[in-house]
């Protein structure tokens, strides 16, 4: 597990749960770190209850945490460990999911 890179930016969570917290817990992995989600969470909610961002802008203007929550803006893309792209606001969290918040291609850019 890579502990040197924190998804939370050291600053906890972005979203605040207000109700419906009595749900079945799910275990997921975010950037190599185990995290707990709740059944019925979208990936976005699962991640933003452990971190203050979902991804980094490819254009160097900083961290992003989604924008529209209705599948229109595409600003909440995350990736599976296998490299498949997921829209975090419309994908439900599932037991055992491994989520990566950095774009796989971005890591290859230096070899191009």
């Amino acid at each position: 597990m890579n502990l040197s890179r924190s998804t939370s930016g050291g600053a906890g969570r972005r979203f605040a749960r207000l109700a419906e917290t009595d749900r079945q817990p799910l275990r997921i992995v975010i950037d190599g770190r185990p995290a707990q989600a709740l059944a019925g969470d979208t990936l976005m909610v699962a991640v933003l209850n452990h971190a203050r961002q979902l991804r980094a802008s490819e254009f160097g203007d900083g961290k992003r945490a989604g924008f529209c929550l209705m599948g229109a803006c595409q600003d909440c893309w995350v990736w599976t460990a296998g490299g498949a792209r997921l829209r975090a606001c419309t994908t439900m969290a599932e037991e055992g999911m491994h989520i990566v918040t950095t774009q796989p291609e971005a890591a290859w850019a230096s070899h191009a």
Binding site: G9, A11, R14, F15, A16, R17, L18, A19, E20, T21, R23, Q24, A39, G40, D41, T42, V45, L48, N49, R52, Q53, L54, S57, F59, G60, D61, G62, K63, R64, A65, G66, F67, C68, L69, M70, G71, A72, C73, Q74, D75, A84, R85, C89, T90, M92
Partner: protein
């Protein structure tokens, strides 16, 4: 010839009522919806294992939400329902859909597009920081996931949704720092005669504002947004505005919900080659519809907020009207008294809509004042300065030309959130009327497809 093939795109208030009307006439429509469940955005259903009752979820609209969901449930088995299916293109009498990475074309004799609306946004410096969400997003977080978008939330923008979502947040126990409305209060007074077309809705609106004030939330009208403060790493840390007296004021927060009413999702109508017209009142291009949602293209109909933003009640009517237009054009009988009643009702809805447009205007002037360093396109971090240079130095005065040169509107939201503001900036920089800037052409796919999508051959 077999039964006419009718496709309805969207399962919100318009799509559901449209499908219901078609089924009642003996047809079996195909309902294509991008969402996992019916209800659209306004009556979006919470996941099955959530337990909040309708009254808590939908407030004064609980009965309507429940009725719409029940109607749709009753249609199951009598329609071909394709949820989690994106209609990504329309060509040559077929809707091209993608579901679970498989794409196929579905031919139609009649197509009703009930694509709904998304938030209409005017950029402000710093709106790209993590923690800025659209107003609609802030409502979805609460309604569908029982979450607030932050622990201290500022609501900024204008329109009825601003007050509705802020008060839903207060009721749900979230901390709302302030509601900052760009529309001057006097506009609301001037709009009263039109708003009285729907006295019940107007009364609910007044109640929302007084609930907020009673809860101790600062509500300011006639403000000018200056900046969302924060850092690229940490995201949103506050909001700076000028109040109506011109004094600068700051609010600490970790999230901002932003929006200026809604804009119709018109890409599919565009791909179906429907004619558009410039709407001077709301300063945007809208699909041209005749009576009951008929477009310039035979066999293509529009209903609900995807035509113009009339709200959920009117969307139910619009869906029914569009279905009746389909039936009529297929030489099938429709109930004429019901048709007349719906048209009358829709005229009242439109009067109210015009009241809202007058009370909560699109803040076009902000585009001109946007500092050069402010990001306009969040997808690709294109700034107002980049766009102005494209106009001033490279002579682009048309939206698609500017897009080709500086990529405003070319990102993966396809201009949904920067298109209107971008056009205002171009118009101001070029010194031409907004209408002359044109509109970003709809492009297929209307949303990005996964790379692995394969075509299904039949």
């Amino acid at each position: 010839m077999g039964q006419p093939r009718v496709i309805v795109i969207g399962a919100g208030p318009a799509g559901v009522r449209c499908a219901e009307t078609l089924v009642a006439a003996g047809l079996r429509p195909t309902v294509v919806d991008d969402n996992r469940r019916d209800g659209g955005q306004i009556y979006r259903r919470q996941p099955d294992n959530f337990t909040r009752p309708y009254a808590k979820l939908y407030g004064t609209e609980a009965e309507k939400a429940q009725a719409l969901h029940a109607s749709f449930d009753a249609l199951r088995g009598r329609i071909d329902y394709l949820p989690e299916t994106l209609a990504w293109n329309i060509s040559e009498g077929a809707v091209h859909v993608v579901h679970k990475q498989r794409t196929r074309g579905i031919p139609y004799d009649a197509l009703v597009i009930c694509s709904g609306a998304t938030d209409r946004l005017m950029p402000v410096k710093g709106w790209h920081y993590a923690g800025t969400y659209s107003l609609g997003a802030s409502q979805i977080a609460l309604k569908a996931q029982a979450c607030a978008i932050g622990s201290q939330v500022v609501f900024m923008g204008s329109g009825p949704l601003l007050y509705l979502v802020a008060s839903q947040y207060v009721k749900a126990g979230a901390q709302v720092v302030a509601v900052l409305d760009t529309s001057p209060f006097l506009r609301r007074v001037a709009a009263l005669p039109k708003l009285l077309a729907r006295p019940d809705v107007l009364r609910n609106g007044f109640a929302l504002v007084s609930n907020l004030k009673r809860a101790g939330v600062q509500v300011l009208t006639g403000i000018t947004p200056v900046e969302i403060t924060g850092t690229p790493e940490a995201g949103v840390q506050g909001v700076v505005i000028r109040d109506r007296g011109g004094s600068e004021r700051s609010f600490y927060c970790d999230a901002v919900a932003m929006g200026y009413h809604l804009r119709p999702e018109t890409q599919l109508a565009d791909l179906a080659r429907c004619a558009f017209r410039f709407d001077h009142e709301t300063r945007q291009w809208l699909p041209e519809t005749g009576e009951d949602g008929r477009t310039s293209v035979p066999g293509v109909y529009l209903g609900g907020d995807g035509v113009k933003v009339l709200g959920a009640d009117a969307a139910e009517i619009g869906g029914r009207l569009a279905a009746m237009a389909v039936l009529k054009d297929l030489q099938l009988p429709v109930a004429e008294p019901e048709l007349r009643r719906l048209r009358q009702e829709q005229a009242r809805m439109d009067r109210f809509r015009r009241g809202l447009v007058q009370a909560f205007p699109w803040p076009a002037q902000q585009a001109a004042q946007l500092p050069d360093e402010a990001i306009v396109c969040r997808c690709e971090a294109v700034t107002a300065g980049d766009l102005r240079r494209t106009v001033n130095e490279r002579g682009a005065q048309e939206a698609n030309r500017a897009k080709a040169l500086c990529r405003v509107g070319m990102g993966r939201c396809q201009g949904r959130y920067c298109g209107h503001a971008g056009a205002e900036i171009i118009a101001h920089a070029a010194g031409v009327p907004l209408e002359q800037v044109g509109r970003l052409r709809g492009q297929a796919p209307v949303k990005p497809l996964p790379v692995a999508v394969r075509e299904e051959l039949e």
